[in-house]
Symmetry: C2
Subunit: 257 residues, 2 copies
Amino acid sequence: MPPATIRSTEKHSVRLSRPAQVAEEIKSWLVAENMAPGDRLPNEQELIARFGMSKGTIREAMRILEAQGLVKTRTGPGGGSFVHEVSLERAWALLVNYFYFKDLTIADIYQLRLALEPELAASLAGNLSNKQLATLEENISAYAEPPTSAEEERAQHVASLQFHQILASCASNELLGFLVGFMANMLADLTVYRRLYEPRNYELWRKGREHQAALITALRRGDAARARETMQSHMQTARALMVEQEAEMERRFLKTR
Amino acid sequence: MPPATIRSTEKHSVRLSRPAQVAEEIKSWLVAENMAPGDRLPNEQELIARFGMSKGTIREAMRILEAQGLVKTRTGPGGGSFVHEVSLERAWALLVNYFYFKDLTIADIYQLRLALEPELAASLAGNLSNKQLATLEENISAYAEPPTSAEEERAQHVASLQFHQILASCASNELLGFLVGFMANMLADLTVYRRLYEPRNYELWRKGREHQAALITALRRGDAARARETMQSHMQTARALMVEQEAEMERRFLKTR
DNA sequence: ATCTATTTGTACGTATGTATT
DNA sequence: AAATACATACGTACAAATAGA
């Protein structure tokens, strides 16, 4: 059941450039024709003819659609532009652009995680295949032993976020899955970039591992309530530790400049 | 505290088109130089010279950045391309593209709303200015009386979603605000497009108004717990009714074709 | 209000690259 | 290996918009 329309609902008041207009027209045409991923758009020459515009303008329009992840273009015979399902990674990347200029804190992200991750965990209980459960177990085996170096600490930190990405990818509610994955992805970027893994924390490692192991058990048993509680504890301890680490790094940063 | 980077973390494996490469280079340049909204990019000629590429290629790159909402371009003297903060509406629109190909149900959206709206309400309690509270009250006055026509029903339905948009815009956690607003916006599109307001529902109208009025009171008093509970009830009843309406419309749709 | 300078926007011709058959 | 059917890239010429004199 697709949403109403893909067409931009932004203020039409602003004058769009011609390429942007063409891109919008193609989008609404795409909706009207109910085109699906893989369907081919008219080729350059046809589009030039239809819109009565130059090659440059049409090409710029295609680049716009491509940037939005809605079409992919291939060269060669049988090539051309094709409708494309916006990829998860592309959608994340576009969304990160929005938050780039905002001042998101670790606490902000954890407020969301605390609300969403337990919900996700509960909804997955009893609904995971053995293969999916095995993937989760394999993932936590990547940090079976406490880290012995900063490099290992970093790797394990990212791996433990990967655990949540896997859970997210299993969600039947695509909106929920998208958001949980987005936050894990963002935290992975942030921790690496801001070296949040640096103030080593044995406690974080031990509790995290405990929680994740307990969670897998609850998920396998189909115990939704338990899964929710476990995830909630996990998020609460992780939040406390991460917020503290953020503050610590903040202090270090201030000192050194 | 900006996130790690704005630069796309998508698989670099895929060969990017030259305009896309240029766009990525400009982005990372933008990050490295720590440029802020309003800052001017080199003009076309300079970019052509710097990258050693043709006008067309550079222009396509700029269209890509423009599509992502990161730059705006103006003609005329003193014109050129300028760094631009990605607008809320643009970010929503780009995200809608992702879900266009997914089968989101009303139930999916409400699962998220049920998790996030109460959290938002609680975090706003006692933190709203009189002006903000007045805006909320003005908004609910738009549906002080039960609707008397389908058209009025539609308008009121959209207005009551507007209520949540206002709350979202007050959030201090930008991530939380963005998501709550996004969902309200999406529901507004969906209800209009799929005529979900049509099976009239006096119950929805009455309870919704009651809840929203009670919520304003709790927010004014700074009673976070009460605000959370009220919003939770609101979401639960709304979900039940909307899901039922979705099913009803589904039945009608199936019948008529 | 008109002109002028600046900068983007559009058009088009040509040549090159690339993948399929 | 060659021919074909596409997109990709480049360069130039001119049009349109806008700010300032």
